[in-house]
């Protein structure tokens, strides 16, 4: 069975680097599934879920905004946050969400607002995926 090499890299770590059979991710134009021998494509990644299928097992991950580059046998994902679904600490994410929301209520500069919004987005994405996995 042909495989794809999926690489997910954040500035602080290389989360994932393995051969998989299929990848599902959320691009800027909507969700897309990528199989081996996909046409070369470059697009923006929207915060959400990435699912990789390996040996008929689905691996779920939460990611932040970023970029995706697809070449024939490889999917490279650059993002500012990435975490495996089973590693998500729901309590920590919930706390982060509350903290971020409280911070947003205060008056902040543009830069700070952007930072806080990013962390809020990260927390929300993690929570959403955790909840979806449970259903």
């Amino acid at each position: 069975m042909p495989t794809l090499k999926l690489e997910i890299i954040t500035p602080s770590a290389k989360l994932f680097s393995d051969d998989v059979e299929m990848v599902t991710l959320t691009g800027i134009d909507g969700e897309m599934g990528i199989y081996p021998a996909h046409m070369p494509l470059m697009t923006q990644l929207v915060a959400g879920e990435i699912t990789a299928r390996k040996d008929s097992q689905n691996i779920h991950m939460a990611v932040g905004d970023g970029f995706v580059q697809i070449t024939g046998g490889r999917v490279a994902i650059l993002t500012d946050m990435a975490i495996k679904a089973e590693d998500i600490d729901e309590a920590a994410a919930e706390q982060a969400r509350q903290r971020a929301e409280a911070r947003l209520a205060e008056k902040l500069g543009d830069e700070e607002t952007a930072t806080v919004q990013a962390s809020l987005l990260h927390a929300l994405t993690q929570l959403k995926i955790k909840q979806r996995r449970r259903l």
Binding site: G27, M39, L41, M42, A76, L78
Partner: protein, 292 residues
Amino acid sequence: MPSTRDIRRRIKSVKNTAQITKAMQMVAAAKMRRAQQAALVGRPYAQLLNEIMAEAAANMSGFDHPLMQSRPVVKRAVILVGTDRGLCGGLNSNLFREAAKLDKNTTVFVTAGRKASQFVARTKRQLNAEFSYQDIPLFSEARAISKLAQELFLTGAVDAVDILYPRFINTLTQQPEKVPFLPLGKLAAVTAGINAPKQELAESNTPEVFEFEPDEETVLGALLPHSLNFKMHQILLETKASEQSARMVAMKNATDNAKQIIKDLTLEYNKLRQANITKELLEITTAQMAVG
């Protein structure tokens, strides 16, 4: 001739200094490891970003992004990245010597770190903005600097932006280096010059035609500023690594010097003490002989 008490006092004060420099050395060593680590973990990301940029460049069909526009340079901005605190050897002075070579009239400074803004103020150069950053520089701090630089460039206030920072070579060596920031001349070189290892472009050079989704302009419009922000962040991380290494080495030298001084002073003190004892003995025996 100093008295034994004077020498004792000096030894004590040098000992105190040595204790402080030793403590600073330890702190710097611990922080250095963390800073170096932080600078290193970004490498795979930088490498991939490089690759993506290179491939995007190879696939661009006559598309010109405003950030890539090169104009004749009348005014240029220099982002001077220094440290917040001193006591790090010649790191800042070497950096500022380079900065002093730049033309006062056509260069505007944007500074990061307190020492850098002090330098610009002291030498009465043009300062556009000053920023600060933490021990482990945050991405948002880098983004603020990079954003300002991009604005300056896009509004036409300056025609080129360079970064001057102490490049981390190894623990013992740091070198001031000036790297171009804007305009993005050749896309492929965007993140090179960061401590990224030589990128292997061989495999990605295969002529593949990329699709952009939704289109080139949107993707590059997001990718280019992001890569600049990331580059700025890497430079801050590297400056921090340089600073902590330089401080550690400087403090180690200071501790060693203090130890040497203590040794010399102790020797002198003992000599003096013995001379005093001998003198006193001599006085006692002479007195006894005179009485007896």
